[in-house]
C-alpha cells in the first residue's frame, strides 16, 4: 500500500474529526489565496475577455500557433529520446565493461555531460553547427536543441541503464552463466531486456524532462517550440499573461499524461512480474547528478513493495 499508511494508524473517530478540522482550515487558506489572486488579476485587467477570447474562442490561435508549437516541441523531444536511448545504452553497458579503459572513457564522457547545463550545451551546439557544418539556418535550432538534449539525456539514460542492470538480482546473470551462456549472450538475452523493461517508466518520465528542456531552446535559439509562441501570439493580441497561462496548462496536461503513462507502465510491469523486476523510482532518475552512483544507494526495500 502507499507510504503514509505505515506511518500512522488507521484513523479512529477522534483522528477523523481532527482531520476534518485541518481540512477546513487548509481549504479556507487556499480559497483566500485564490480570491486575492482573482482580485489582483481583475484589477490589472488580466481577466478581460478580449485578452482571453483569442485563446479560448478562436481556433486559429491554436491551429496557427499553439498546436504547431506543441508539435515542434514533441518532435524535438521524441527525436532526442530516440537518439539518446541507444547511445545511452551503449555507454551504460560500457561503464560495466571488464576493461578498465573502456569504463574510464565511458565514465568520463558521461560525468562530463551530466555536469553541464543543457542550455549551455544547446548554445554551443548551435554555434558549432553554424561554424563547422552546412546545416541550414531553419533547421539549425532543431539540430542544436536535439544535440543538447541528446548529449545530456544519453548520459542520464546511460546511468539509468547501468543502474537498471546493477539492480537486477545477481542470480540472474549467475544462472545464465551456470547454463553455459557467454558474457555477451548473458548481457543481450538476460540482463539488457530485463533492465530496459524495468527502466521503461524511468525512460517515459525522462521524456517529460526533455519536453520541458526543449523550451530552453525556444527562448535562446529561436526554435519554434510551444513556449516561444507567446511572443507571436502576444504580438497579435497583447495578451502575454493569458497566453503564458494557457501554454503552461498545455505543458502540464501533456506532461501529466506522460507521467501517468509512466505510472501505469510501472504498475503493469509490477503486476506482470511481481518482485524481482522493478527499477529505481522513475521519479528520482530524471535529475541525476554527476559523480553520484545512485545504483547502490537505492537498496533497501521500499515500503510500497
Amino acid at each position: 500500500m502507499s507510504a503514509p499508511s505505515v506511518l500512522y494508524d488507521a484513523p479512529g473517530p477522534k483522528a477523523r474529526g481532527r482531520n476534518v478540522g485541518y481540512t477546513a482550515a487548509f481549504a479556507l487558506a487556499l480559497l483566500a489565496v485564490a480570491w486575492v489572486v482573482y482580485l489582483k488579476f481583475d484589477e490589472k485587467g488580466q481577466l478581460d475577455w478580449t485578452l482571453w477570447q483569442p485563446l479560448l474562442a478562436d481556433g486559429r490561435t491554436w491551429t496557427e500557433f499553439l498546436l504547431p508549437g506543441l508539435l515542434n516541441t514533441l518532435i524535438a523531444g521524441a527525436l532526442a529520446i530516440v537518439i539518446a536511448l541507444p547511445v545511452g545504452a551503449i555507454f551504460g553497458i560500457a561503464r560495466l565493461s571488464d576493461h578498465a579503459w573502456i569504463r574510464t572513457v565511458a565514465g568520463t564522457v558521461v560525468e562530463f555531460f551530466r555536469a553541464i547545463p543543457v542550455l549551455i550545451l544547446m548554445i554551443f551546439a548551435n554555434e558549432f553547427y553554424f561554424l563547422f557544418t552546412d546545416v541550414p539556418a531553419d533547421s539549425r535550432p532543431l539540430y542544436a536543441v536535439v544535440t543538447g538534449l541528446v548529449l545530456y539525456n544519453a548520459s542520464v539514460l546511460a546511468e539509468v541503464v547501468r543502474s537498471g542492470i546493477l539492480s537486477l538480482p545477481k542470480g540472474q546473470s549467475e544462472a545464465a552463466m551456470a547454463l553455459g551462456l557467454r558474457k555477451t549472450q548473458t548481457m543481450l538475452t538476460i540482463l539488457l531486456p530485463q533492465a530496459v523493461t524495468a527502466m521503461l517508466p524511468a525512460i517515459v518520465s525522462q521524456l517529460v524532462v526533455v519536453l520541458k528542456d526543449t523550451a530552453l531552446g525556444g527562448a535562446i535559439l529561436g526554435y519554434e517550440d510551444l513556449l516561444i509562441q507567446y511572443r507571436v501570439i502576444s504580438a497579435n493580441f497583447a495578451n502575454t499573461i493569458p497566453t503564458l497561462i494557457v501554454i503552461a496548462i498545455i505543458y502540464i496536461v501533456v506532461n501529466f499524461a506522460l507521467t501517468q503513462l509512466a505510472v501505469w507502465l510501472e504498475r503493469w510491469l509490477r503486476s506482470r512480474r511481481r518482485g524481482a523486476l522493478t527499477g529505481p523510482d522513475p521519479d528520482m532518475l530524471e535529475e541525476q547528478a554527476p559523480g553520484l552512483d545512485l545504483s547502490d544507494t537505492r537498496k533497501g526495500q521500499p515500503v510500497s513493495a
Partner: protein
C-alpha cells in the same frame, strides 16, 4: 527557400529564373512584422518587402516569408537562406563587413514608451530613479544608463512583450527601443501608451542582402525610392503605426549605393 544551387547567383538572376523570393522578416513585432492567426503577415516591414518584390517582378503569392531572429540575420543572408531581409535591420559598419544594405528605407530613433497618463518622463534624461525595460543584450537601454540617467534601473527580458506587460501593470515606467517599434506597441494597445517623441539616436533601417550584390542593391533602392515617391510609403506607415499618434518622419534619403 532560396537555398540550394541557386544561392550563389545574384538576386536579380535568381528572381528572373524562379519568379520567387524568400524574404526575412520578424514575426513578433506589431506594426512592423507580425504573423497573424490567418497565417498572413502584417506591418510596415512586410509592406516594404511586398512592394520591393512587386518591383522586382515577383507576385505577392510567390513570396515566402521567413522569420529571421536578430542574431541570425547575417548568417542567413550569407548562407543564402533568404534573398533579403526587411526586419528593423539597422545599417552598421560591423554588419556591412558581412552583408550589403539597400536603403535606408526608414530612419528611426531610440525613444521611450510610457503610460498615457505619465507626465513626468520627458526624455532620456528624466529617468533617474525610474524603471526602464528593454530586451537582453540591446545597447539602447545601457546607453540611457551610461549617457543620460545614471540612476535609471534597468529590467531586461528576452522579448518586448514582457516589457509591455510590466508597463501596463505599472511595474516599469518606460520601455525603450526604436521609436517605430514602440509605435507598433502603442498602436496595438491603443490609448494606453504614448511615445515621448524625442528620439535621441538615429537608426537607419536597411534591407540586407548578399554582400557585393550591387545590381540587386540598386534594384531594391529603386523600388524604395518609388515607394516613397508614389506615397505608398507614407500610407503604409499611417496604416501600421499611425494610430498611436506617432509623428511620421520625413522619408529618408537613400545613401547605400
Amino acid at each position: 527557400g532560396g537555398a540550394g544551387a541557386n544561392a550563389d547567383k545574384p538576386l536579380l538572376d535568381r528572381v528572373k529564373e524562379s519568379k520567387k523570393l524568400t524574404i526575412g522578416i520578424k514575426y513578433d513585432q506589431p506594426g512592423l512584422g507580425r504573423r497573424t492567426p490567418d497565417g498572413k503577415f502584417q506591418g510596415f516591414d512586410v509592406d516594404v518587402a511586398k512592394y520591393v518584390a512587386k518591383e522586382l517582378g515577383v507576385d505577392e503569392s510567390a513570396i515566402t516569408f521567413k522569420e529571421t531572429p536578430s542574431a541570425q540575420r547575417e548568417n542567413m543572408i550569407e548562407k543564402g537562406e533568404v534573398d533579403f531581409i526587411v526586419a528593423t535591420y539597422s545599417i552598421t559598419d560591423a554588419r556591412k563587413k558581412k552583408v550589403s544594405f539597400a536603403g535606408p528605407y526608414f530612419i528611426a530613433g531610440q525613444d521611450l514608451l510610457i503610460r498615457a497618463e505619465d507626465n513626468e518622463i520627458t526624455g532620456p534624461d528624466s529617468l533617474n530613479g525610474k524603471k526602464l525595460c528593454s530586451v537582453k543584450g540591446s545597447t539602447p537601454a545601457q546607453k540611457i544608463q551610461k549617457d543620460y540617467s545614471h540612476e535609471a534601473q534597468l529590467q531586461e527580458y528576452g522579448g518586448y512583450s514582457e516589457c509591455i506587460t510590466q508597463l501596463l501593470n505599472g511595474t516599469v515606467d518606460a520601455v525603450t527601443t526604436d521609436d517605430v517599434i514602440l509605435a507598433g506597441y502603442a498602436t496595438q494597445n491603443s490609448g494606453k501608451f504614448k511615445l515621448v517623441g524625442k528620439p535621441f539616436t538615429e537608426e537607419r533601417y536597411g534591407i540586407g542582402l548578399r554582400k557585393d550584390d550591387k545590381a540587386g542593391r540598386d534594384a531594391i533602392n529603386k523600388a524604395i525610392q518609388k515607394m516613397i515617391d508614389e506615397g505608398v510609403w507614407k500610407q503604409a506607415l499611417e496604416k501600421n503605426v499611425g494610430p498611436s499618434g506617432y509623428k511620421i518622419p520625413a522619408p529618408p534619403e537613400i545613401t547605400e549605393k
